[in-house]
């Protein structure tokens, strides 16, 4: 998941960078475009201003030429005496015809009366004596061409611009004014024919920057005439003497910012000013910008959405990968957990993969195993190769026996089970083989095989023997037939005997039960009187001691000793009888360990005795531990007893190997016995020594013998009077 986080970080950064870049590019190009638009509009205003200047100056030039013609004609007629009204009118009409821009062309006499012209003035004649341009021309012979401020025609009533020249008399005195009336309407029409946008403007101003014509007119036809309200910048530029300039300013009347170019119209006191408003010329740019911004936004949305999708996809991919990884880990762990060596083999017999068990079986690291030949690791490589080739040709093998050779030289017998495995396309990818260690199985098989061989040998031998015996038997058969006949007779007798035996067996069982009841009774009832005898004897000794002489006391003590001895006898007899009845519980018993325990106990009971004990350890036998302990206890306490007169007593326990198997022994260097009476040793209550010499009841060795017999063993004794005794037994 860590990688997902970094992926998220990368994708976020990427999107931010791409979007920033896109926005920057769009911004830059829009800015460039904007500059281009600005430049274009500057060019446009400049061109328009120039062409308007040209047109207007041409018109004025044309008018001036016409006026000069009229002035010449009028001055010629004045020089000749007087002006011929008819001919001058005709002259003017001719000129006027060629200048369609002019509303009229006329001439006023020095008194200001408009007397000539085209169209010819009709009575009553109007005067222009009060007009500024008339006064200027009358007063200044060198005024040249004079262009008036807009005036309202006294004949036509139209707003016109008067272009006028002075007519001199021969003597140079004022002879009148010739003029042409250029209707502002004409100019306005001309301006309005130019497309300068909804908020653009074309203005013609006079030398005082008063409006002559403006398009569009803010408050109806000619409403703007004479307005001198201009931007400060424009006024400064004009006043500084610049005849042409492009600039940007806000027109104070309508408060609209425009890109302006103004030009002075030739040498005339007129200015033409063309302005275009950004709101017009930038409209396409704005549209374009909006389109680009929209596109950019769309791009942002698209990138965000695709990033989101990408992130989602990546996340699910990573989750899937994580799942896949854990599944793969799980399966791998299972493979590694297998105790059987597992291996995959490619078609050319190379190992592709192994588990830990294979590494253990071969003693070669996984890295070295992978890529090496599978057959290398077996005692018979050719047979190993044949094995996997068989899988490729037949699909699988089962219980294919091979022997793995460990790098240490150890070998492991295995059985291989192998089959083909396929890749994701379903094509055979290789062989998957699992080995099962059968070393132990093989050993067992080998043992069984050997046993079988031996058995067969024995059968052969026995058959031969039997054949031989068979021949002998044939001879014997006849004799047997005779015997059988005799036996038949005997059999009848036997049947009778068997019936008798059964009766006896029942009788014995009954007797056994009686014996048990008897034993119990003995243990209780025989002891009670003995206790009374002992107890009351002691009571007499204690309570009547002053009335008894020494002999009397001696007798009472003897009574007590006798009763105690009898109690011991009863115990021993009971013990012996219990031996015959108790069940045997067979386990593995270490006789040496038992002997060591018993001699340790004896040393504690008789701390004043010095007895050297030589005990052989680890004598393992099968038997009843409790009974064997009783037997050894008896043998050792006997040894202890009969060595009590020896200053260097020695007791030995061990096992001797003989032709008839192992024989255990307990030896001492004590009093010993006369071998002549050896057979009496194991008879109950038989004693070879006096009670005074060696106390005892004569039950001990009987008990030992019974225990050994119950274990199916034998017991015997060897001795020489005065030179110690040895008791031997087998189990």
């Amino acid at each position: 998941m860590k990688t997902l986080k970094s992926f998220t970080g990368r994708i976020t950064t990427g999107i931010i960078i791409i979007n920033l870049f896109v926005y920057l590019m769009v911004g830059l190009s829009l800015y460039q475009l904007r500059i281009t638009y600005d430049q274009q509009v500057e060019l446009s205003t400049q061109n328009l201003a120039r062409s308007l200047e040209l047109s207007i100056s041409k018109i004025i030039d044309k008018i001036d030429v016409a006026l000069l013609g009229i002035v010449d004609e009028a001055e010629k007629q004045l020089a000749a005496g007087k002006i011929n009204q008819q001919s001058l009118n005709a002259f003017i009409a001719l000129r006027h015809k060629r200048i369609s821009e002019l509303d009229n062309m006329r001439m006023a006499k020095p008194d200001g009366l408009i007397s000539y012209g085209s169209p010819a003035p009709a009575a009553p004649l109007q005067t222009i004596a009060d007009r500024e341009y008339f006064i200027e021309l009358r007063n200044n012979p060198k005024a040249g061409l004079v262009i008036s401020k807009p005036v309202k025609g006294r004949i036509t009533g139209k707003w016109v611009l008067i272009v006028a020249r002075r007519v001199n008399n021969r003597d140079g005195s004022f002879g009148g004014v010739a003029y042409g009336s250029l209707t502002l309407e004409y100019l306005a029409k001309m301006f309005s024919s130019i497309d300068i946008g909804k908020h653009g403007s074309i203005t013609m101003r006079d030398k005082d920057l008063a409006i002559v014509v403006r398009h569009p007119e803010t408050n109806g036809v000619c409403s703007n005439i004479g307005m001198t309200n201009v931007s400060k910048l424009f006024r400064e530029l004009v006043e500084s003497g610049q005849t042409s300039k492009t600039y940007k300013a806000i027109y104070p009347v309508d408060n609209i910012e425009r890109n302006y170019t103004y030009r002075k119209i030739a040498d005339y006191p007129l200015y033409i000013n063309v302005g275009q408003a950004p709101s017009d010329y930038l409209a396409p740019w704005r549209k374009e910008a909006a389109a680009w911004i929209l596109l950019s936004l769309v791009f942002t949305v698209v990138t965000l959405v695709s990033a989101r999708l990408l992130h989602k996809q990546r996340k699910s991919e990573m989750l899937a990968m994580e799942r896949l990884r854990s599944i793969s880990l799980y399966t791998r762990n299972l493979i590694e957990a297998s105790l059987d060596p597992l291996v995959t083999i490619s078609k050319d017999g190379k190992i592709r993969d192994v588990n830990e068990a294979t590494v253990n079986a071969t003693g070669i690291t996984k890295e070295n195993l992978i890529g090496s030949d599978f057959s290398n690791y077996f005692t018979d490589p050719d047979y190993a190769r044949a094995g996997y080739e068989k899988v490729f040709s037949q699909g699988s093998v089962t219980d294919y026996p091979l022997t793995i050779r460990h790098s240490s030289g150890n070998i492991t017998n295995v059985l291989y089970n192998a089959s083909l495995y396929k890749d994701e396309k379903g094509d055979v990818a290789g062989v998957f083989a699992a080995a099962r260690d059968v070393t132990r199985l093989k050993q067992t098989e080998e043992e069984i095989r050997k046993l079988n061989e031996e058995l067969e040998e024995r059968v052969v031998m026995r058959t031969a023997e039997l054949r031989k015996t068979g021949l002998e038997l044939q001879d014997s058969q006849r004799a047997l037939i005779n015997m059988v006949e005799d036996l038949n007779g005997a059999n009848d007798k036997l049947n009778l005997l068997n019936a008798d035996l059964l009766r006896q067996k029942n009788a014995i069982e009954a007797a056994n039960q009686e014996l048990e009841a008897f034993s119990y009774s003995v243990s209780h009832d025989l002891r009670a009187p003995l206790r009374a005898i002992d107890g009351f004897s002691l009571a007499v000794l204690e309570d009547y001691t002053d009335k008894l002489d020494e002999e009397g006391k001696n007798y009472l003590n003897r009574i007590r000793a006798a009763s105690q001895r009898m109690s011991q006898l009863i115990d021993d007899i009971l013990g012996l009888s219990r031996l015959g009845r108790s069940e045997i519980n067979i386990t593995s018993v270490d006789l040496g360990e038992l002997a060591a325990e018993i001699t340790e106990d004896l040393k504690k009971i008789y701390p004043d005795r010095q007895v050297e004990t030589i005990i052989q350890k680890g004598i393992m036998v099968k038997g009843d531990r409790r009974l064997l302990r009783i037997a050894l206890e008896n043998l050792f306490s006997n040894a202890w007893k009969f060595t009590n007169s020896r200053p260097e007593a020695r007791v030995e326990f061990g096992v001797a190997k003989t032709d008839n198997g192992p024989v255990c022994y307990v030896k001492d260097n004590g009093a010993g016995f006369d071998e002549a009476y050896a057979d009496k040793l194991f008879t109950p209550f038989q004693r070879l020594h006096s009670t005074e010499e060696f106390p005892g009841t004569g039950i001990g060795l009987t008990t030992v013998k019974r225990i050994i017999l119950r274990h199916g063993g034998r017991i015997w004794a060897e001795s020489e009077q005065g030179k110690g005794a040895a008791f031997y037994f087998t189990i």
Partner: protein, 151 residues
Amino acid sequence: MTKKKVLLIEDNPDDVELTLRAFKKNNIVNQVIVAHDGIEALDYLFGTGKYEGRDITDTPAVILLDLKLPKLDGLGVLKRLRSNENTRLLPVVILTSSKEDQDLINGYNLGCNSYIRKPVDFVQFSDAVKELGIYWILLNELPPAQSMARK
């Protein structure tokens, strides 16, 4: 407070005599009640029959029980004691001649507190009685339930 009693369940008069002598010789002066068979012992403990009306909260400090008894044997007596609420926790010492494994196992299974085999030698017997007297009468603390019952 009077000294606690000892209940001796024994049919053999010789053994009774010897046991009492052993008590006396060892200066154990607690009163010894003798029951001569199992039924008599139960009568004494439960206040029935011959002992009708006896204050059964006056329980003995220890019961010495022979196994071989007329009418009801020792193990039978033990079984009845252990199944009765009042006598369930009374200390019982089996005092017998028997050394049979089966008797030992049965005795302990039925919940006797101790098992002593009567030795023939009176000196040893006397020592055994002394030991059990010191332990069960002087040293042993009875369970609180018994103390409650005595009040």
